[in-house]
């Protein structure tokens, strides 16, 4: 293909980005704006539900010894309130916001894996539906959002906790998926010229947050699976009678739970880093420090979890370490606060609605940060832990640090989302109601806690002297709710009946303000080139070196399929092109399958789970088939002759998907291995019931998995860096042969693992050691199955494509995942055989 720089009518290109009309179009939509908006709308509705739950609680607590609610109802309410706000509102909303905004901010036409994005949304939605269906069956979870064992275990909780576990696991699968999506988007699909040092803070933050989510949320999924195994097949992970330990749950939960706080706060802070510069009309001061601060926060947040466990009786030295780290992380937040203050100082503030929420954020969040330093102190925390002081603290941090910024962001980007204007007066009214209501509710709670009121109590005795402060909180809660109501109505009115907004009402600095409001289906008819940190204020000159080639390749094209540029990680140099998949129903199928499995488990009608598995597998297979169809159908020769779709290694977007999947598998198994090691170290005797030490089989599995990894890797190298469309004699045979070798070796490994699993007389209910072995072997089998599935896709691709490049890439992805199976297997082997020998 040579230069075709004349401009076609816009429609031809735009149409490839439009959704089909009607219901089919609705369910098959995959573009980031559709999915992002769905995330936000769903999460906002759940936020309103969670808010109503809290109002009911406040009514019950308005006076001492009240009998407005039954104790069990109250316990359900606080469980569902926390669960909803943390798992179904905060994280999904922010991921939805990122889904919507990021491609606009970084100049891409879509997220790199749009169908996966849709898949994640459906998982989240179905997870939410499963959790809330517990109300229909009157089996509402009531063990708290933290679900401590043994209270949430088989002995003390009924079916209700299964709704919680299944609903949440689906939602968390979605959260991890969205994190992968966002991380790869920021790394690889930025506008040409947007080097790392020109990246908007929101993109930096979402990159850091996606790292945190991938590392921290998988332990929660693993913990949920372990608890569900304890509850269904009777494993002993948390059973003190058989080598288990209830503290394992707390460790896993807070390894997730503390980073989760920063997963909510950091994007909030990032929103502020966008709102303040625009509304103060000055670029963000100390941008490099802000980036360092948020990256430090994301990493350090993984090392603080024990400060939720100060009263479980850990050694002083451990506690001191976590005190120091918990105190130190506040410095990173301090940096950001002073960067905002300096920006305001140097700028000229406009008191718009977003700015008001940003100001409200600063005064509130700083107060929450200060009480955060207080509760980082072991001695003080042992007093206020699990009291209303802590309730006050984290609502200051979460409402102050996440909700206020989200409201600031909604008002800031509203015209970008909807193309409409909202009522500024209503906006200011809602701000003041929310701000005053918030502080009236939560400031007194500091005292409520200091005066001795524990959390999660449905009532309190009059003698505690807590009536006045509680009544104040209840009144405040209703003022806050009124503010949220005004805000919601303002948005709804604007969305349907609002006046049209100008394209850039604030004169914004970042790239999304360069796009139309709302952006057209493809976002960017012509891909923007970026030459500064503030492309809205300082656009790239027309003679920028990237301008001509990018225009040639991407202006109103390609016309037959969806595509967007790919750029290098550090300098944002144009490097290739990404085929952006089109709408399809396939990503909806597997989530339905997963939901059917959950329903089968909940109803204990296990045959149904086979149907669920079938649906999920068919969904994945159909999805893969459909993908290859698009790779087969379209002319994917390099755009303008220089932006290849199919390139070697990390220059293809699929490499990032395969690597992410590999990382997820390894982290999951590493979490299992850590759990077993933790139990081993804390158990009196380990192992119990005979060690599983079939060395011959273990070595054979290692060799077989290595063979699969090496074979697929070697096969993919045969097609190395070939041009698109090339067919080299012998390569096809090499691809097929190596794939078949991998399939045979992988199947042998799977068989051996299953033989050890079922043939070794392992009774998972006998002792935690056996439970660990059983679960690790089961997981290894699943991971190996997934790797086989991946190689199957490579075979399918090889049979469908004549050219060598795409099948070579598929083999490469498959090889990456085989390498992960080797890693997970070595972890498994070490945990079941080596650790018990080596560690006391």
């Amino acid at each position: 293909m040579t230069s075709t720089s004349h401009i076609e009518p816009k429609e031809a290109h735009s149409q490839t980005w439009d959704n089909a009309p009607g219901a089919r179009g609705f369910f098959s939509a995959v573009q980031h704006k559709n999915v992002g908006m769905r995330y936000m709308v769903t999460a906002f509705l759940l936020f309103l539900v969670g808010g109503v739950l809290s109002l009911l609680m406040r009514l019950q607590l308005a006076q001492s010894e009240n009998d407005f609610l039954e104790p069990d109802t109250y316990n359900e309410l606080f469980t569902m309130h926390g669960t909803t706000m943390m798992f179904l509102f905060a994280v999904p909303f922010l991921e939805g916001l990122a889904s919507y905004l990021l491609p606009l901010m970084i100049g891409s036409r879509d997220l790199p894996f749009p169908r996966y994005n849709a898949f994640n949304y459906w998982c989240y939605l179905l997870g939410g539906i499963i959790l809330y269906s517990s109300y229909i069956f009157a089996m509402v979870p009531d063990a708290g959002w933290f679900a401590y064992v043994p209270l949430s275990g088989p002995e003390f909780s009924d079916k209700a906790m299964d709704f919680w576990l299944f609903g949440l696991t689906l939602a968390e699968i979605a959260a991890v998926g969205a994190a992968i999506e966002i991380g790869v988007a920021v790394l690889r699909t930025r506008a040409p010229g947007m080097s790392l040092n020109r990246m908007p803070i929101f993109a930096w933050t979402m990159l850091a947050v996606s790292f945190t989510i991938i590392v921290a949320f998988i332990p929660l999924i693993v913990a949920s699976v372990l608890l569900e195994l304890d509850r269904t097949i009777g494993t002993a992970f948390f059973d003190t009678q058989s080598g288990g330990n209830p503290l394992l749950w707390q460790h896993l939960f807070w390894i997730f739970g503390h980073p989760e706080v920063y997963v909510m706060f950091l994007p909030g802070a990032a929103i502020i880093s966008h709102v303040i510069p625009v509304h103060a009309r000055h670029p963000l001061v100390a941008y490099p420090l802000v980036v360092v601060a948020l990256a430090t926060t994301a990493v350090m947040s993984l090392g603080l979890w024990v400060h939720h466990m100060y009263s479980v009786g850990l050694p002083s030295i451990t506690l001191s370490f976590f005190t120091a780290s918990s105190m130190a992380i506040t410095l990173a937040s301090g940096l950001q606060v002073f960067a905002w203050l300096a920006t305001l100082w140097l700028g000229r503030a406009r008191f718009t609605v977003p700015m008001m929420f940003a100001i409200g954020f600063i005064v509130t969040f700083v107060a929450g940060g200060i009480t955060g330093v207080m509760v980082a102190s072991v001695a003080f925390d042992q007093q206020v832990h699990d009291t209303y002081f802590v309730v006050a603290h984290f609502h200051y941090v979460l409402i102050g640090g996440m909700l206020f910024p989200v409201f600031a962001g909604l008002h800031h980007w509203w015209s970008k989302f909807t193309g409409k204007l909202y009522s500024t007066i209503a906006g200011h009214v809602s701000f003041w109601l929310i701000f005053v209501g918030f502080h009236t509710t939560f400031f007194p709670m500091h005292l409520t806690g200091l005066w001795g009121m524990p959390r999660r109590v449905y009532t309190y005795e009059r003698e505690l002297g807590l009536d006045f402060v509680n009544l104040l909180s209840t009144i405040g809660a209703f003022v806050l709710a009124a503010g949220v109501l005004v805000l919601t109505l303002n948005f709804v009115r604007s969305w349907f009946w609002g006046r049209p907004a100008p394209q850039d009402p604030w004169h914004g600095d970042s790239l999304e303000w360069v796009a139309d409001s709302p952006a057209p289906s493809e976002n960017w008819p012509a891909i923007p080139v970026v030459a500064s940190r503030t492309p809205g204020w300082n656009p790239a000159p027309d003679d920028h070196p990237y301008a001509e080639p990018v225009r040639e390749a991407f202006e109103h094209q390609p016309k037959e399929f969806r595509a967007s540029p790919m750029t290098t990680v550090v300098s944002g140099e144009p490097d290739g092109a990404v085929l952006m998949p089109s709408p399809t129903l396939w990503p909806l199928v597997s989530p339905v399958g997963l939901a059917v499995i959950a329903v089968a488990m909940l109803t204990q009608w296990y045959p149904l789970s086979f149907l669920g598995i079938l649906i999920a597998v068919v969904g994945l297979a159909g999805w893969a088939w459909r993908n290859e169809s698009e790779f087969a159908r379209n002319d994917l020769s390099p755009l303008a002759g220089r932006f290849p779709f199919e390139a070697r290694g990390s220059r293809s977007i699929g490499w990032w998907a395969a690597s992410s999947a590999a990382i997820v598998a390894v982290i999951a198994v590493a979490t299992l291995a850590f759990s077993a090691l933790y139990l081993q170290v804390n158990a009196a005797v380990w192992p119990v019931g005979g060690m599983v030490d079939n060395t011959l089989a273990f070595v054979a599995v290692t060799i077989a998995l290595l063979v699969a990894a090496v074979a697929t890797g070697w096969g993919s190298r045969r097609s190395g860096d070939v041009e698109w469309g090339t067919v080299t004699p012998g390569v096809r045979t090499a691809h097929l042969t190596t794939a078949v070798i991998a399939l045979v070796a992988g199947a042998a490994a799977l068989l051996l693992v299953c033989l050890v699993w079922f043939g070794g007389d392992i009774d998972p209910s006998e002792h935690a050691y056996q439970s660990s072995v059983w679960t690790l072997l089961a997981t290894q089998s699943l991971v190996t199955l997934a790797a086989l599935f991946g190689t199957g896709i490579a075979v399918m691709g090889r049979l469908r494509h004549r050219r060598d490049s795409r099948p070579g890439m598929l083999l490469r992805y498959s090889s990456i995942f085989w390498a992960a199976t080797v890693a997970t297997w070595l972890l498994t082997w070490a945990t079941i055989d080596l650790f018990p020998r080596l560690v006391i």
Partner: protein, 354 residues
């Protein structure tokens, strides 16, 4: 700057004023306030709290003042001179940009870093002072959590009680806590921070009271339906009073052959032994030795019933025995259908168990 000062007084002073007024209201506090420490452990923590509170208020006021001035200042400046809008694409590299980075770094990380380091040291010192190991050679009490009550054992003295801990004043009494079912948390705010009671694990703390008196506490880790109504009371005695209390507990309150006792007490015991009471409770010196519910050997001498939620009066005891599920739904004690004479005799019997 005059307007800045007005704004400062406006926003900053209002909110901080509110904080201080609220804190001044501390006199209104009730039974179990952290701010009313009555023993060494709680006092140490209270000192730390006051330190952190004042540092925190100062930090918050400084940030708020800077914020208000930043918001107001530039608008005045604008009246004086117009400024170019727009941004320098390489703002960090300019002299102004570098200076701003330094200022932000010093104000946002270095100064706070010094403060934080100080607070960390202060906190670590207090944590060391209240370490469970600092209990020394003192009497030990074991407290075992149950849904929703507390079993209290004095292992050296062979005394078992419930929902009430007696300690001598001025001594650091070591308390070892664990649980029989789910996780609970032992917390008596006026004397000590909390310590979780975890099945399969024994944690320790110590209690110290300056003065004799009643100190209230309650379960602080959500433990199920009646978590809210799981209270405990610590009774601090002068040393000799404590010794005599302990001695009295060591002998069964139960009638021993040869003692005088009224017919009603004897009948009451018969009612107790022939009804479902014996399946769960122990009364030393009788055939009742089950351990599902609280030990009743000296129930008449306790301050409260049902884990601190009812005063120990005849009427409340009757109400509890007849219908515990309406008072504390979900607790493990079933109701009874004892009537008139039988009930009265049972009450008299239980009231005799001093």
């Amino acid at each position: 700057m005059a307007r800045g000062r007005i704004m400062r007084r406006g926003l900053g002073a209002t909110i901080v004023g509110g904080l201080l007024i609220a804190l001044a209201g501390c006199s209104r506090e009730g039974q179990q306030s952290i701010l009313n420490p009555q023993g060494e452990r709680a006092e140490a923590v209270n000192g730390l709290w006051e330190l952190m509170l004042w540092i925190g208020v100062i930090v918050w006021v400084i940030v708020s003042v800077v914020l208000v001035v930043a918001l107001v200042r530039r608008r005045r400046a604008r009246e004086e001179r117009a400024r170019n809008e727009g941004a320098d694409p390489d703002a960090d590299a300019t002299a102004n940009g570098r200076r701003a980075i330094w200022i932000v770094g010093i104000a946002g990380a270095i100064v706070p870093g010094l403060v934080i380091a100080g607070v960390t040291v202060a906190s670590t010192l207090v944590t060391r002072d209240i370490d469970p190991a600092q209990a020394g050679e003192t009497p030990t009490v074991e407290v075992i959590g149950h849904q929703y009550w507390w079993e209290v054992v004095y292992p050296e003295d062979d005394v078992v009680s419930a929902n009430e801990i007696h300690i001598p004043v001025g001594e650091r009494v070591r308390v070892e806590v664990t649980s029989d079912d789910v996780i609970h948390s032992f917390w008596v705010p006026e004397l000590s921070g909390k310590m979780d009671m975890i099945p399969g694990r024994t944690n320790a703390l110590w209690l110290h009271a300056d003065e004799p008196g009643l100190y209230w506490g309650q379960c602080a880790e959500f433990c199920g339906l009646q978590h809210a109504l799981m209270r405990i009371v610590v009774v601090a005695h002068e040393a000799e009073e404590y010794e005599s209390w302990l001695e009295a507990r060591q002998e069964p309150a139960e009638w021993t052959p040869g003692d005088e006792e009224s017919e009603e007490v004897a009948f009451g015991r018969e009612v107790f032994m022939s009804s479902s009471c014996v399946y769960c409770h122990t009364i030393e010196g009788t055939a009742a030795n089950a351990t599902i519910g609280p030990d009743l050997t000296h129930i008449a001498s306790r301050e409260t019933l049902a884990a601190g939620i009812l005063p120990n009066t005849r009427g409340d005891l009757a109400g509890w025995i007849l219908d515990p599920q309406s008072i504390k739904p979900g607790n493990k004690m079933p109701g009874t259908d004892l009537e008139g004479e039988e009930l009265q005799a049972l009450l008299t019997y239980l009231e005799s168990l001093e």
